[in-house]
Symmetry: C2
DNA sequence: TATTAGCACTCTATTATCGTGAGTGCTAAT
DNA sequence: ATTAGCACTCACGATAATAGAGTGCTAATA
């Protein structure tokens, strides 16, 4: 059954009011605040209809209406018009300067805080995952004895490191030789390929380099997997400002969830493939048992390639219009910064 | 006025009970649970005395006694005996494995979570601050055009990086040359000294290297200052398990405080100079308006040098005995790992 | 047929009242 | 110095009463 124009307007009015005030909306309030040209009795009928269709509900018999998750979904898909973004963009620009990004880590942190500040929700940023074979440089630093620190520098400017322990001591000089060799090869090949070629080339001899290669390879694999560190959460306490989290138990479980960054990652990464904004309302996000929470995410790019995700987690009753704009703006901002400052496509 | 033996025992009993149960302790309960050989009436007198001396208080007329901050202070300084650490150490060992420390960042994170898990409070670790002139290696990676990524490797194995933009393009080859030069100099001098010598040596000529040196120097300064990233907080949600934070407003302010890492740093770093455990009870910590919170901190070392701080933030009513042992144990554990795996004193 | 006024009914949230019990402080006896 | 006894205090929980917002239904109206 389709909604006629008037019903749409009523639904929108109810959701708008509820988002703004947080209290269930009754027919009288609605009739008074908006000018529908009909009485509250008619509005009651309409609202009952909308409830039957699943867009609205009410907490108890004598309370006003609140949107269901389904109602929010319809609201976002059909009722939000993003016509007035111009005025908001100014708001953003005024607050934009903080994003200066001395290095990738900082940029991610700042972006998450930026999101939080502007959306009054928790800001979440998933750092770029380095596709295999995107290393620019691999460096070995001998710390002492057989301990070697391997440093991976990716095209995006991301730097990761791992400490390994070799079977036998090795000179810094030899490490440098190997590093130069690797860098040259990296121009044309992925780490996996290099490893393959090395295995073929030097069967038994040069055991030491072979070992080092193995360790390097394994370390790089570990880097890939250790995604957990890549989730930046900013301004989580923002979310507590919302009255719906006055319930202590809810808060607790929410913060527990924030600490489980792996799950967060799964949740956010679902949108990484596609471009544009995605909104997951309440029960729509399955990875995460967050009651009463919505997630607004977008992907960001470096050059033409989508490389990461960023967004916002907040109460289901959030200012979707604004939040969507903020997330969109931030994604574009981060994309621009990354594209400008790091990496130009595949070119080296 | 000094406390006689019996009063001490009563004070200890009250605090022990209150820490264990969280509810104010009345004279009857005390007389029943402990065997003082006196009646509840006498205990009432004693408790009134202790209250007058400032060690105890009660929330309202007809409630039992609870410790004041002062009472806790006395409890910790004079009443806690750490005789039975043997039994607890076993507990720790069973849970110890998780600390494997692939790199410094991981070690810090794991340590903070370790602290949280064992103390049921929030675990906080301040990463080693690199004293000037402790760099092992400085690497330059040309990303594209005039963008260069500077990577600092410290003796502790800590790796930091910063992206800079030069006035003119520079070849990777030249960067390597400079890196080799710096590394050699770093064997004997601090960055500040090297800069000085460079300025004297090559007045006008070699402008490019001079510029690079300036940028490198400035970047290293910034690294020093950007301490904020160095605070690792683990298991903050642990703290919510405590009933005293059922109050939403309290929780909120606490989490806000956690996000202000700079203040946290100030608070924790007060203990960095001295060795051993420090306890700040409730109002005793001034940097931080955390009502009802206590902080237990210790410093950790690499070799002989104190290089960082770690500890726990929890409700004033915490299991001091256990927590102190946990913090002590963790500090030693981290010290051992750092001493073993990285840096051997000043030797290179 | 769609809208509206009117009204009975429902349910929450607020406030008031009261009893209960743990605990204190004081006094007088030991 | 210790203790028994007792009056007094005060938070806490349960219960009851009230107010008010809002609904759903019915019958009247345009």
């Amino acid at each position: 059954m389709e909604l006629d124009e008037r019903n749409k307007r009523v639904l929108q009015a109810v959701i708008d009011s509820y988002i703004a005030s947080g209290i269930p909306i009754g027919s009288n309030v609605l009739a008074k605040r908006y000018d529908f040209g009909v009485s509250s009795a008619t509005l009651r009928n309409i609202m009952a209809e909308l409830e039957e269709m699943g867009y609205l509900t009410h907490p108890h018999t004598s309370a006003g209406r609140i949107p269901t998750d389904w109602g929010y979904r319809y609201y976002i898909d059909s009722l939000i018009s993003v016509q007035n973004e111009a005025e908001d963009i100014e708001d953003h620009l005024r607050q934009a300067p903080p994003l200066h990004s001395g290095n990738l880590h900082e940029l991610m942190m700042e972006a998450s805080q930026f999101l939080a500040a502007l959306s009054h929700c928790a800001g979440v940023v998933v750092a770029p995952s380095e596709p295999e074979g995107k290393y620019k440089h691999i460096e070995f630093v001998r710390l002492r004895g057989r301990q070697v620190l391997i440093i991976f520098v990716a095209n995006t400017g991301s730097v990761q490191n791992k400490l390994i322990e070799l079977d036998e001591s090795i000179q810094q000089h030899d490490l440098n030789t190997f590093s130069v060799y690797l860098d040259e090869e990296l121009e044309r090949h992925t780490l996996t390929e290099i490893r393959q070629r090395l295995i073929e080339k030097m069967k038994e001899e040069k055991r030491l380099f072979m070992r080092l290669m193995e360790q390097t390879y394994r370390a790089s694999q570990e880097m890939q997997e250790r995604d957990v560190e890549k989730v930046y959460i900013g301004g989580a306490s923002q979310i507590l400002e919302n009255p719906e989290f006055a319930n202590v138990e809810k808060m607790r479980s929410l913060f527990k969830a924030f600490e489980d960054k792996y799950k967060l990652l799964r949740l956010l990464d679902r949108s990484v493939a596609a471009e544009g904004i995605k909104v997951f309302i309440g029960s729509e996000n399955h990875y995460f048992e967050m009651q009463g929470c919505s997630v607004v995410v977008s992907s960001y790019k470096a050059g033409e390639n989508i490389i990461g995700t960023l967004g916002v987690i907040g109460p289901t009753r959030m200012q979707y219009k604004q939040v969507i704009q903020v997330v969109d703006y931030t994604a574009k901002l981060v994309s621009r910064l990354l594209s400008e400052r790091f990496q130009k496509g595949i070119e080296r």
